[in-house]
C-alpha cells in the first residue's frame, strides 16, 4: 500500500553507481531527461533503454524493486497512453461511434508511454542510488554559483533534505493513524465520493497536528544545536570528483552523441 511508493527512496549499496559523486548523477540524469525529449524515433528509445538497463545492472538495484515503484504511477502512464491513443488524427484503423484509433495515434501512444516509463525509471534510479544527504549536498554545490544572484541555495537544499527525510516518517504516521481509525470501525472504501471524502477527516486532522508537532520539534532541535543558517557553514564530508566520475562523464557524452545520431536513422522499427 502506501509504503510501496519507491519514488525518492534510497536503496543501500556500494556499487560503482552508488559511489559516483552526487553532482555527476544529477547532471547525468538531467542530460538523460533532455535526451529523452530529443529522441525522434524508437531507435532512440532503444539506445536510451539499453543505457538505462546497463546502469541498473551495474547499480545492482533489483529490477523488481524498481518496477514496484512504477506501479504507483501506473495510472498516469495508462492515462497518457489512452489520451494519445484516441486523440491523434491520421489514418483510421478502428472506429466506434465517436471513438477512433489511428495509426499515428497508436505510434504516439506507445512513444509517449515509453518515454514516460524511461523518464520515471531514470530519475528514480538517481534517488535509489544516492543518499538523500549526498543528493542535497550535490544540489547545493551545483546551485552555489547562482547564490551570487540571490538564489538561497543553502536554504533550498536544506528544505529538500528535510522534505526527503520526512517522507517515510509521515508515511509511517499516516499508516498508524489509518490503522487506529480502522480499529474504531472507520471505513474508507465504501460509499459515494462525498462520504469517502468525509471519511478522510479523521485521518487528515491528526496528520496535520502530527506534522506541526514534528516540525516544531525539529525546529527546536536544530536551534538547540545552534543552527543559524547557511553562511559560514562548513561540511564534515567534502564531496569530490573521482576517476569514476570522469568515466561516467565520458559515457554520458557517448550516449548523447548516440541519441543525436539516432534522429537520423530512417529505417522504421
Amino acid at each position: 500500500m502506501i509504503r510501496d511508493i519507491t519514488l525518492g527512496q534510497y536503496y543501500p549499496g556500494s556499487s560503482a553507481v552508488h559511489r559516483l559523486d552526487a553532482r555527476t548523477k544529477i547532471i547525468a540524469t538531467l542530460i538523460y531527461i533532455v535526451a529523452l525529449f530529443v529522441v525522434k524515433n524508437f531507435w532512440g528509445f532503444l539506445i536510451a533503454g539499453a543505457a538505462l538497463f546497463a546502469v541498473i545492472e551495474v547499480s545492482k538495484v533489483p529490477v523488481k524493486f524498481i518496477f514496484r515503484g512504477l506501479t504507483a504511477v501506473f495510472m498516469i502512464i495508462a492515462f497518457t497512453f489512452l489520451i494519445n491513443l484516441f486523440m491523434v488524427d491520421g489514418r483510421v484503423l478502428w472506429q466506434w461511434k465517436f471513438l477512433s484509433i489511428t495509426e499515428e495515434g497508436v505510434n504516439r501512444a506507445f512513444f509517449m508511454a515509453v518515454r514516460l516509463v524511461l523518464l520515471i525509471i531514470g530519475s528514480s534510479l538517481m534517488t535509489l542510488t544516492t543518499k538523500p544527504i549526498e543528493l542535497t549536498d550535490g544540489l547545493e554545490k551545483l546551485m552555489k554559483p547562482f547564490s551570487k544572484i540571490g538564489v538561497p541555495s543553502h536554504e533550498i537544499a536544506l528544505m529538500m533534505t528535510i522534505a526527503l527525510r520526512f517522507i517515510p516518517t509521515l508515511m509511517e504516521e499516516t499508516d498508524k493513524i489509518i490503522k487506529a481509525q480502522q480499529a474504531r470501525g472507520a471505513d474508507f472504501e465504501s460509499g459515494n465520493l462525498i462520504r469517502r471524502a468525509k471519511a478522510l477527516i479523521p485521518i487528515l486532522i491528526p496528520l496535520f497536528i502530527s506534522s506541526f508537532r514534528i516540525a516544531q520539534d525539529l525546529a527546536l532541535a536544530m536551534e538547540a544545536r545552534c543552527y543559524h543558517g547557511g553562511s559560514g557553514r562548513t561540511r564534515m564530508n567534502q564531496i569530490r570528483f573521482h576517476r569514476g566520475d570522469a568515466i561516467a562523464a565520458l559515457l554520458v557524452i557517448v550516449f548523447l552523441v548516440a541519441i543525436v545520431l539516432s534522429r537520423f536513422i530512417n529505417v522504421p522499427i
Binding site: 493513524i177 487506529a180 481509525q181 471505513d187
Partner: protein
C-alpha cells in the same frame, strides 16, 4: 471454547525487500477466561505487531487467529464484525483525536458500528465516566484543551464506547506523569472488573505488569518465550535480565536482601507485600 487463540502466527514486514523483518515467528497461545494479560518484551520483539493481528488490521504471512472459535484470518470473515468485538488502543492514542468535542470523538466508533442514536448517547456517557472523566465537564470541551493524561483517557473512552469483548492497549501508560500513570492503571482495573472482559496490554513497566496481570507473556524476537503467572515469570529474573528486561522493584530489593540474609524468602511483587515479608522475617529473627 477459547475467547481468543492464535496458531503459528507468523508475520514478515517487507518480504524480499530491503528491511525484511520477521516480526512474529510461530506465535501460539489461547485464552479461555476473561482476565488481564500483560505482554512484556524488548523493543522490536513484536508486541505491537501481535496486537494488530488480533483484530485483523494486519493479515498474517502464515498462521491463524481465532476469536470465539471462529477463524478471522481465512478471508471469509467480515473484518468490521471482528473490530466490533475487539477494541485496540494504539500507543499514544491521543494523537488520533480529531473531533471538535470530546463527545464527538468518543461517538466516532459507535457511529461507525451503526448503533442507534439514542443508545449511542448512553454509551458515550458511560464510556467517558468509565475512564474516570466527568461527562458534564468534558463532553463539550475540545479534546486539545485537555491535559495529557485526560487526553489519553478520552481516547481510550473512544474505544470503550464500542463495548468490545476484548480490549487491547499498547503501552497505555507511556510518557505520563506518575499521577496520570496511576489513574490509567486504576482505570484498567475498573474496566476489567465492571465490564468483565478480556484485557490484553503491553507495558515496559514491570510494576504495572505485576500489579495488573493474571497472566504474563514474555516476547523475544517475535516469539512468546514465557507464558505464565506473574509470580512464575518474575521468579525467572536472570533469564529476563538476559533479554534486557527487568523485574519489579520489590523483586529486585528482595534479591538484594537475600544476598545479605540468605534465609530471607519473599514471593511478593508489590512493595507492600515485600514490607510485610520483611516484617515477618524480622519478627522471626528477634524471637530467635
Amino acid at each position: 471454547m477459547s475467547i481468543i487463540e492464535t496458531k503459528d502466527l507468523t508475520y514478515v514486514y517487507n518480504p524480499e525487500m530491503p528491511g525484511e523483518t520477521r516480526a512474529l515467528d510461530a506465535v501460539s497461545f489461547s485464552v479461555e477466561e476473561p482476565c488481564i494479560i500483560g505482554i512484556i518484551g524488548h523493543t522490536g520483539s513484536g508486541k505491537s505487531t501481535l496486537l494488530q493481528h488480533l483484530n485483523g488490521l494486519i493479515k498474517p504471512s502464515s498462521g491463524d487467529v481465532y476469536i470465539g472459535g471462529e477463524c478471522i484470518t481465512d478471508g471469509r470473515k467480515n473484518l468490521a464484525d471482528v473490530r466490533r468485538k475487539i477494541g485496540l488502543v494504539f500507543q499514544y492514542p491521543e494523537y488520533q483525536l480529531f473531533d471538535e468535542t470530546v463527545a464527538g470523538d468518543v461517538v466516532f466508533g459507535p457511529k461507525n458500528l451503526g448503533i442507534a442514536d439514542d443508545e449511542v448517547d448512553d454509551r458515550v456517557r458511560r464510556a467517558i465516566e468509565m475512564v474516570g472523566l466527568d461527562y458534564d465537564e468534558v463532553a463539550e470541551m475540545s479534546p486539545f484543551e485537555l491535559s495529557g493524561g485526560m487526553k489519553r483517557r478520552a481516547a481510550i473512552a473512544g474505544v470503550i464506547a464500542m463495548e468490545p469483548e476484548i480490549l487491547m492497549l499498547d503501552e497505555p501508560t507511556a510518557g505520563l506523569d506518575p499521577a496520570a500513570h496511576k489513574d490509567i492503571i486504576d482505570m484498567i482495573k475498573k474496566v476489567q472488573s465492571e465490564m468483565n472482559l478480556l484485557i490484553i496490554f503491553v507495558s515496559h513497566n514491570m510494576s504495572d505488569i505485576a500489579e495488573l496481570s493474571d497472566r504474563v507473556f514474555v516476547m523475544k524476537d517475535g516469539r512468546i518465550v514465557m507464558d505464565g503467572s506473574p509470580e512464575d515469570v518474575f521468579s525467572r529474573g536472570d533469564e529476563l535480565r538476559e533479554m534486557g528486561l527487568s523485574v519489579p522493584p520489590a523483586k529486585e530489593i528482595a534479591g538484594r536482601i537475600k544476598e545479605r540474609a540468605p534465609k530471607f524468602e519473599s514471593k511478593a511483587l508489590s512493595i507492600e507485600g515485600l514490607a510485610e515479608d520483611i516484617q515477618k522475617f524480622r519478627n522471626i529473627k528477634e524471637k530467635a
